[in-house]
């Protein structure tokens, strides 16, 4: 599938259904492996039809969509250790070889799994949707910058409004969480006719085998970026409190630090000599797997999330989690396997850690986590494909 110019599904059929073009403009410009770009890569690598998927990008200079050669898909789906800059370099020459997509073809099926704020691209979508016949769909992640602007640089939101303005013209929208769908319905677009289903993301992206409880596990792990809304400082301070009280517990923190974080750097500096603490920074999937194999529970106490994949993946691996309330990712799961904190602070976090250090309690949570049914990436892509297929 990775070598094909299109991701085909109906080999042998004399009249294959029209392909669906998938708009990868942002991914091909900034080929990251996290967040939305990770979702896009999962779509590319797990697509099984029924309709063929054709990657394309919007060219803001030529004001049109261009189908991308198969080499682009190869680069974007290979499991390599290339850096983002490497991938950019590798993609560059292939992007120039894109072929224009005809208006009829693009109207037959265009799916956008990206968030973008570029005015010309937005105008292209609005033009496509103007007469109401084009089959255009978007996957919507969240509305955080619009509903919680304080987490972004000042005056950011106004520049992002092209996304919202265009979204209200898009005939079909699917959502990664119930919360996003509710926001769409009741706060942003306020038009129930266009709202599609919730398609939860997969929890098996780490490819970590189901873990088993072991009383010897004393490590708690945080995975995610370090930025103000994630409250990592509270986690660090909670463990400082525990260590001051001679509690036998360890902490591993994985994730790059963003420059808006002001609380965490001095604490990380202070903890450098602490043998029970490890800060790995940005880590590969392999390093993350290794860390989780020693983990008793993960922590994720963010104040604000569009989805919140780390606790979701933790539970998918069978590892309990200490999490903040109202994480959209956990809302799609049945209860169990987690301690939910309604108020976030070092004291509350330390209390939850103490609870989980109790073997009996921990074993119970491990049992609950093991019984949770968590969607996989295959299921996500399959549901997305079915929904897109319904359009025809």
């Amino acid at each position: 599938m990775r070598s094909a110019p299109v991701i085909e599904a109906h080999k042998g059929s004399t009249l294959p259904p029209a392909p669906i073009f998938v708009d990868l403009t942002e991914l091909t410009t900034q080929p990251l492996r996290t967040g939305i770009q990770r979702v896009e890569r999962e779509i590319l690598s797990r697509w099984r039809g029924p309709r063929a998927l054709v990657p394309c990008r919007f060219d803001a200079e030529k004001l049109g969509f261009f189908a991308l050669p198969d080499a682009v898909v190869e680069i974007l789906t290979e499991d390599s250790n290339h850096t983002v800059e490497d991938d950019k370099e590798r993609l560059l020459s292939h992007l120039e070889k894109g072929t224009p997509v005809s208006q009829d073809d693009i109207e037959a099926g265009l799916h956008n799994p990206e968030v973008f704020y570029e005015q010309r691209r937005a105008e292209a979508y609005r033009a496509l949707c103007r007469d109401g016949t084009a089959s255009v769909s978007w996957l919507v992640y969240d509305f955080l910058p619009f509903l919680h602007p304080q987490g972004w640089e000042p005056r950011t939101t106004e520049r992002l409004m092209h996304y919202v303005r265009t979204l209200r013209e898009i005939p079909r929208a699917a959502f990664i969480s119930e919360q996003t769908r509710n926001d769409y319905l009741h706060r942003i677009i306020r038009d129930p006719g266009r709202a599609g289903p919730v398609i939860p993301l997969g929890g098996d992206g780490l490819a970590l085998s189901r873990q088993r409880f072991d009383r010897r596990r004393r490590v708690f792990t945080y995975v995610g970026t370090i930025e103000p809304r994630k409250n990592v400082a509270d986690i660090l301070e909670a463990f400082e409190m525990l260590w001051q009280q001679d509690v036998d517990v360890e902490l591993t923190v994985i994730g790059r630090i963003e420059n808006r974080s002001t609380r965490e750097p001095p604490i990380l500096e202070r903890l450098k000599p602490e043998p029970r603490f490890r800060y790995l920074g940005h880590a590969s999937d392999d390093a993350m797997r290794q860390a989780l194999q020693k983990t008793r529970a993960t922590l994720f106490v963010s104040s604000l999330e569009g989805f919140g994949i780390p606790p979701y993946e933790s539970l998918a691996s069978g590892i309990p989690v200490i999490a903040s309330a109202n994480l959209p990712s956990l809302d799609v799961l049945s209860p169990g396997g987690r301690i939910i904190l309604h108020e976030i602070g070092p004291g509350a976090i330390a209390g939850a850690v103490r609870q989980l250090l109790d073997d009996e309690f921990a074993e119970k949570l491990w049992g609950e986590a093991a019984s949770l049914r968590i969607p996989t990436w295959d299921e996500f892509v399959q549901r997305l494909a079915s929904w897109l297929h319904e359009a025809n």
């Binding site: 000042p154 209200r168 942003i188």
Partner: protein
């Protein structure tokens, strides 16, 4: 609480020309020993420093409890003593308000009147003579004088006609190194036989006289006796003296200029000398004479009055120009060890009254005595039963909101106090409530005729004169704005703006960063209020948020005054009938959801976000129309283009120029809602929002502004980084609830009472330390 406050003018300890010389040593000694006074009366000490001079070094800063950068003392809750450590060396206007204050006991240390003795050298121009005489006039206003010698005391009486009862002699203290036991060795650069001449790079030190005497003395030359001349002579001056020495028969190798030496080395040089010659033509006091005696070297000196009272023997003195006389006396010392020993014995006790602790002890004993015998200061205001307040502010006709606000303030404040207004453009008629109105000068800052001086500061050029006076002379300050970025960057210049921002933020700030703040104040990180906070006593602000920032960033307790409503209504602005009539006059459809935004249309009011919010509202089927009431401050094209791009030309209206008062009020009556946003924070206020509140109009504003204005319940707040979605959501909620303003009438009336000018004036009056109803200062 302390019973007494002692205020020192410490400028001489900042000034490199004085801090390590006689003036500085004497001054530091007195300040250092203030404990002598404290042991009798509980005392606070305050040092006045001039920001225009180099910063006060820590070694001096530590000598006082607090330091202040101006001489405005505000509320005096205890006896106050002002000690002018050096009255003739710096701008006498700086402490002028204190010197003019009859409540304060003012003491001056007086050194000399040398410039009057040789005006052709020291006061060569008319301007310098005028300045010096101005300083003399200010000096005459002190209550008690501490001349450093009998000679200076005599001059004080002669020149200023000071009553001897108001004079107590003091002296200059000898350095501690002179009192240590002699363990020094012969100075390395000098031979066993040398004569010391105490000089200094001042012609009046008259070192030429002993240099000539030494050069011409065959006895001294043949005996190889060196002549050591102390004082920091520049190379050119030194060369001239060497030429003079050689030209009169002196051997070049015998004339030594040791240059700068530290105090220990100086003591060694004194101690090793066969004798010391001090030949000055004029002195107020002579430290070298005392130092020589303390070091155990015989000293001969010119027969000027300051030397006579120190040396006390005619045979050890010489007329300043008498070279032969000096030569004879020096030769006698070198030749006759017995004579030398006899003089040393005679001089061994004369210097002891100049020990540092003894001088300071006597000084502070006299101050204690003066304080004890001073009549208790009256507790009322200085003149009459009503306080007199100097009010320095822009005033109408200045086209400034602050000018209007000050006029309204004075109208009410004038009911409590005599308010004298000083402004750049004095009003044609005396403003209502004011006792007088004059052009602004330094006079109110120096005069004893005002119990308080209030300067009104804001972020515009209208405040420049007031700012400079506040900077120099201090005073109470009403700070109208929550940031002074434009004022500093544009009027004070880039370097000062940067330095101030760096001090506030504790990090480097580049010019580009300040430029980016000017372009978009939502990025602003510094308030630029640090200097005003430092100078003001007290500082008044109109927002609790600003007060908190001032406390956190500058450790200054600012007084909060509730910002007052200055657009009054004689009708009930919540009346529905009036609303409908106003809508008819303005042509607003009755079905339309009319949203107004008042004031200059400026990007720092989140104009784009408001336009986008209208786009959203209309997509939600709410028939909204947004009216911008006010001219464009910037970016007109950008805003109009956005309206056009979003196809909102029929739903967003910009006023076409100046909006008259009647029409402005009509919009306030006619609107269903308002939106007043700010993208810069720090507790900034909005007069336009105040107008909306005053008519009970539901208004969407951002959190910082709502908190700063202590908004009533009919304000809806959105986060400080405004999002069009949240703005639209809040407006939609107002639309959903219906727009009957009468439901907010009680809250509106309560707010209006708290935010009335009557209440404002009372709080201002109390904040200045006066008690309502008594016309007296507190306590």
């Amino acid at each position: 609480m302390a019973d007494c406050e002692i205020v020192f003018d410490m400028r001489c300890l900042q000034d490199p020309s004085y801090k390590d010389r006689g003036v500085g040593k004497l001054s530091a000694n007195l300040v250092r020993h203030v404990g002598c006074f404290r042991s009798k009366i509980e005392t606070l000490t305050l040092g006045l420093v001039d920001p225009g001079l180099p910063p006060l070094e820590d070694r001096f800063r530590r000598l006082v409890d607090q330091v202040q950068s101006n001489a405005y003392l505000g509320v005096k809750e205890r006896s106050t003593v002002f000690v002018e450590l050096s009255p003739m060396t710096h701008d006498p206007l700086f402490p002028g308000r204190i010197v003019n204050d009859p409540d304060i006991l003012k003491l001056a240390v007086v050194y000399d009147f040398i410039p009057l003795m040789k005006p052709e050298r020291y006061l060569p121009t008319a301007s310098s003579r005028l300045d010096y005489h101005t300083q003399l006039v200010w000096l005459s206003r002190y209550d008690h004088f501490f001349p450093i010698s009998q000679h200076t005391s005599d001059e004080l009486r002669r020149i200023l006609n000071v009553n001897p009862r108001h004079i107590t002699n003091t002296g200059a203290p000898i350095g501690s190194a002179f009192e240590r036991i002699d363990t020094s060795k012969q100075p390395a650069r000098l031979s066993e036989h040398y004569v010391l001449v105490c000089g200094g790079a001042e012609p009046r030190k008259n070192v030429e006289c002993p240099i000539l005497a030494h050069a011409r003395s065959r006895e001294l030359q043949d005996a190889g006796v060196q002549l050591v001349v102390t004082g920091n002579y520049p190379p050119g001056w030194q060369a001239g003296l060497r030429d003079l020495y050689r030209g009169n028969g002196g051997k070049a190798e015998l004339l030594i200029f040791p240059g700068f030496v530290d105090e220990d080395e100086l003591v060694s040089i004194y101690r090793g000398a066969r004798c010391v010659v001090v030949a000055a033509e004029m002195e107020g006091f002579s430290m070298p004479v005392v130092e020589a005696m303390a070091a155990g070297s015989p000293v001969i000196a010119s027969s000027i009055p300051a030397h006579k009272e120190l040396v006390g023997r005619e045979d050890l003195m010489f007329p300043p120009g008498d070279v032969e006389n000096v030569g004879r006396k020096v030769e006698a010392f070198v030749r006759d060890p017995g004579k030398r020993a006899e003089i040393i014995r005679d001089q061994s006790t004369r210097w002891q009254r100049y020990r540092a602790d003894k001088i300071a002890g006597e000084f502070w004993a006299k101050v204690s005595d003066l304080v004890a015998h001073r009549r208790p200061k009256h507790s009322g205001v200085l003149r009459g039963t009503r306080p007199r307040i100097a009010f320095l502010s822009p005033m109408p006709p200045d086209q400034s909101g602050v000018a209007d606000y000050s006029a309204a303030t004075i109208k009410e404040l004038g009911k409590l106090a005599d308010v004298h207004v000083f402004s750049k453009h004095p009003p044609v008629a005396t403003p209502e409530g004011a006792a007088s109105a004059r052009q602004i000068t330094a006079l109110p800052c120096l005069s004893s005729g005002f119990d308080r001086v209030i300067g009104v500061i804001g972020n515009s050029h209208f405040h420049l004169e007031v700012f400079h006076l506040l900077e120099r002379y201090g005073g109470a300050c009403i700070e109208h704005d929550n940031r002074l970025l434009g004022f500093y960057r544009i009027l004070m210049g880039s370097a000062r703006a940067r330095a101030l921002a760096e001090r506030e933020l504790g990090r480097p700030v580049m010019e580009e960063e300040i430029g980016s703040w000017l372009q978009d104040e939502s990025r602003l990180k510094a308030t630029f209020l640090g200097e005003v906070a430092e100078w003001a006593s007290p500082m008044f602000v109109h927002s609790r948020v600003t007060a908190q920032i001032v406390q956190e960033r500058f450790s200054k307790a600012a007084i909060y005054l509730p910002f007052s409503i200055y657009r009054q209504w004689q009708i009930d602005p919540t009346d529905r009938g009036l609303k409908l009539a106003a809508r008819t006059r303005l042509g607003i459809d009755q079905q339309e959801f009319a949203v107004i935004s008042l004031g200059l249309v400026h990007s720092n009011k989140a104009v784009e976000e408001c336009i986008w919010a209208v786009d959203l509202l209309r997509s939600w089927k709410i028939p909204a129309k947004l009216y911008f009431i006010g001219g464009f401050a910037d970016d007109e094209c950008r805003f109009r283009n956005l309206v056009s791009y979003l196809d909102l030309a029929d739903h967003v209206s910009f006023s076409s120029g100046f909006v008259g008062e009647a029409q402005y009020r009509d919009y306030l009556l006619a609107a269903d809602a308002a939106v007043q946003l700010r993208t810069h924070f720090f507790g900034g206020l909005s007069g336009a929002l105040l107008d909306c509140i005053a008519v009970g109009l539901p208004t969407v504003t951002n959190e910082d502004l709502a908190m700063a204005m202590e908004g009533p319940p009919y304000l809806s707040s959105v986060p400080d980084h405004p999002s069009p979605v949240l703005v639209a959501e809040s407006l939609a909620e107002i639309s959903r609830k219906g727009a009957d303003r009468s439901q907010f009438d009680e809250a509106r009336r309560d707010y209006s009472e708290v935010h009335s000018f009557e209440n404002y004036a009372r709080k201002l009056y109390e904040g200045l330390g006066f008690e309502i109803g008594t016309g007296h200062r507190s306590p």
